[in-house]
Amino acid sequence: MENVIEVKELTKFYGSLLAVDHVKFEVKGKEIFGLLGPNGAGKTTTIRMICGMLRPTSGTAVIAGFDVSQKPEEVKRRIGLVPDVSNLFGELSARVNLEFMGKLYGLDKKTRRERIDQVLELFQLKERQNDLVKYYSKGMHRRLTIAAALLHQPEILIMDEPTSGLDAQTARLVREIIIDLNKEGRTILLTTHQIDEADRLAQRVGIIDRGRLIALDTPEQIKNSTQGMRALEVKVLNGVDQQRWIPIIKEAEGVDKAFLAEGKIRILSKNLSQMIPTVVNLVDKQGGKIENISVAQPTLEDAFINLTGKSIREEPMSKEDDVRRRLARSGLR
């Protein structure tokens, strides 16, 4: 399949802060590509440059054959952008919001009406089409934001953290919509800091950390990059804070990584058979009792930790990452 998005050594400095560092990847037509990384990694800055909303310090992106630095308006015509935060006009109704977007994308009156009816129907918003958007729930906001991005029927959909901040039910609905849109033949580039989302949705994943793309492959291949490392899941009994055991377990011989994942202590090691008795003895010596211990397949999160040395969920954001995140979120300034 032909490349629809070609990101070529994109680099962005905010003053002296390097937000995106020579990022390079391609997205094939009709593919779901996930850009995975923690908050402040440079994901939003990267997609803002791809969409022609931010000028790169160096490098460029070619979208559907158009160089974004030279033909930003042609690129914008071919992209539907779903930002991480719903950015519709709250004082206007859903229909008026869509009317305005349709006009900006050059749709004539008849086409505009037809498409608006279509997307409102598709996203089950027809009954509330004349209500002011500020009275919408989070899920409705998200659905309307996706609807607005689809109005001009773009071949490429770029979604920034599509399920971030949504309840489980709405997040599932949004994921189903993403899969359906892909089945219709749309190329989708999404960013996420949720590993399971990238694992579930993306056919290929790029891991971005501190502005650099550090891995790029299918989720399966990235998981295999743990190179023989196996995972052990441990839960210590007696309601003891599981987090307290992590520094203790980390000290044990043969432990490569230990971290908390979904309420359990997850241990990565290349020698699992030796690891099980070591951990059991260690916990016992420290006065704890193991409630549950099991061997697990390496996940994308294990691979992420292996690559970056930190957990995507638990690592507190560094000051530099926070500045990077704020700059990307603030958009213009």
Binding site: C51, M53, R55, E91, L92, V96, F100, R333
Partner: protein
């Protein structure tokens, strides 16, 4: 992009901005309440039908100019709100040129200034019988003044990083301009060097022109109109430069 398409983008952006502003009745009422309150307070204090009818004729043009200033600057500052709420990104992500965005925002500011000023003008005429020799010239002066205040609004919007900063910056300009722009007191009565400061403000020329056109020939306001035009060109060009730099950075 074709010039007509670019112009239509600007018109739609302006229409969208104004639609939002007029959607909220409270917003419109509150923004007009301040100048109406000022007009009524000063008028009743000095008596609309008494010997100080001259003061009413002096006051109303000033209030009209001041209202254009508040209306235009407030409307243009929506850029800062749009930036902070992320809705500006929605326009930036669309295939619309930066010039169209700036022209659209400027149009919205100017239209809001003109509409606000006209409301006060009608109230002034209805309640106190204020009249002008040439209404077309009055409209032209209000339009030029509104554009120059819109230019100031774009500069504020370009410099401010968030709404609170924009509010502070605009108050820093609007309130001194209100008191030094000859709205309530003639600038000739101000102590030195305040008349010189007043002569640097666009509101001074707007109020002066509107007062002249109450009794004199239209040609007498030519100089004021030229100064307002120069202000319009300078502020809009400067404001656009700042916004353009931010949008295309």
């Amino acid at each position: 992009m074709k010039p007509l398409t670019s112009l239509m983008h600007s018109v739609w952006i302006a229409e969208n901005d104004l639609r939002q502003s007029f959607k909220s009745v409270r917003h419109v009422v509150w923004s007009l309440l301040f100048p109406i309150f000022m007009m009524l307070t000063f008028s009743f204090r000095y008596g609309a039908t008494g010997p100080d009818k001259d003061f009413i004729n002096f006051l109303i043009p000033g209030i009209v100019g001041m209202t254009a200033m508040f209306g235009s600057i407030n409307e243009t500052m929506s850029i800062v709100w749009d930036k902070s709420l992320g809705v500006f990104d929605r326009i930036l992500a669309a295939p619309v040129s930066s010039t169209s965005i700036i022209v659209g925002k400027t149009m919205a500011g100017a239209v809001m200034g003109v509409i606000s000023a006209l409301v006060l003008l009608i109230i002034g005429a209805a309640l106190f019988g204020v009249s002008f020799t040439n209404i077309s010239v009055v409209l032209l002066i209000i339009l030029l003044a509104s554009f120059s205040f819109t230019g100031i609004g774009t500069i504020i919007s370009g410099l401010a990083s968030e709404p609170r900063e924009a509010m502070m910056l605009s108050n820093l300009l609007r309130f001194p301009m209100m008191f030094l722009g000859g709205v309530f007191f003639p600038i000739e009565a101000m102590p030195t060097p305040l008349p010189y400061v007043a002569r640097a403000l666009p509101l001074t020329y707007a109020t002066e022109a509107l007062r002249i056109i109450q009794t004199a020939n239209s040609s007498m306001v030519l100089l004021d109109a030229m100064v307002l035009l120069a202000y319009t060109v300078a502020t809009i060009l400067f404001g656009s430069q700042i916004l353009m730099r931010i949008m295309t950075r």
